[in-house]
């Protein structure tokens, strides 16, 4: 099993209008670390992942995943479409 950890941080930041610096200040890390997290060069500790999840008010698995993540729009609208067909 690969050690890769995928995340949706860039999308969530854009959606919330939050800069890297804002996120870094909110969770108590350095701005460079946010960049490394987004690029997948660093895997956060459980505590940091939970802090980020709390900040975005989302479950941690909505932000981080061991599998490559589908685009958020497809997650939301893809599900709705399937539900509508039923």
């Amino acid at each position: 099993m690969s050690n890769a950890l995928y995340n949706r941080l860039p999308v969530l930041r854009a959606e919330h209008g939050v800069s890297r610096q804002d996120l870094a200040d909110a969770v108590g890390i350095n701005v460079q670390t946010v960049g490394f997290l987004e690029r997948g060069d660093y895997s956060p500790s459980l505590a940091l992942a939970l802090d980020i999840a709390t900040y975005f008010e989302l479950p941690v698995e909505a932000i981080f995943s061991r599998e490559p993540m589908r685009p958020l729009s497809r997650e939301v609208y893809g599900t709705q479409k399937k539900a509508g067909r039923r």
Binding site: A14, H16, G17, I29, N30, Q32, T33, G35
Partner: protein, 184 residues
């Protein structure tokens, strides 16, 4: 861990530039040591001690205003819970630039760099000992006179090694924050 994007006019934005700085630094140290050996220092003169401090801490780690962030000097009193964490945790560091935090990534990088540096140092010490013993067997008088320079070089090398490992291994910096901020 890299807090400056340039040092002595040398840009440090890319990994290659940081590695060039490390290579340049050790070339300078080797030149300095070589000069000392050539001149044949008999003892360890007083001026060599400030040189050890200045040269050893040139890349940072121990002082502020250098490429590598300080590791642990000056922990905020309420941030530690034991004398060991006072010197090792490095959570909050005071500097003229304000309190500096080593976050979890930086702490893990710092610890890894010291681990790697220790292993490199161990091999280097064995190599230096073998070299010294070989030279001593060839010419005891000449080698004894230059033992202090060998010691000087080892101390500077030992002090600077973790910072060099950090500069060498730090991945390329993330690109600037380019995502347009619309807000919701």
């Amino acid at each position: 861990m890299i807090q400056q994007m340039s040092f002595l006019g040398i840009p440090l934005r890319t990994q290659l530039q940081r590695r060039m700085l490390v290579v340049g630094y050790y070339m300078f140290v080797a030149l300095f040591a070589g000069l000392g050996v050539w001149r044949g220092h008999g003892g360890l003169p007083g001026f060599l001690f400030p040189q050890i401090i200045v040269l050893g801490s040139m890349l940072g780690g121990l002082t502020v205003g250098r490429p590598v962030k300080p590791y642990s000097s000056g922990v905020v009193p309420d941030a530690y819970d034991s004398p060991i964490s006072l010197t090792l945790s490095g959570r909050k560091v005071f500097s003229p630039y304000g309190p500096q935090l080593l976050d979890e990534r930086e702490q893990s990088q710092r610890d890894h760099a010291h681990f790697v540096a220790y292993r490199i140092l161990l091999v280097s010490l064995v190599a230096a000992l073998i070299a010294y013993c070989s030279l001593y067997a060839l010419n005891a008088a000449w080698t004894s006179l230059r033992a202090s320079m060998l010691l000087w070089t080892i101390v500077v090398y030992a002090i600077s090694l973790p910072q060099s490992v950090l500069l060498w291994t730090e991945p390329p910096m993330p690109v600037a924050d380019v995502i347009p901020m619309h807000g919701v």
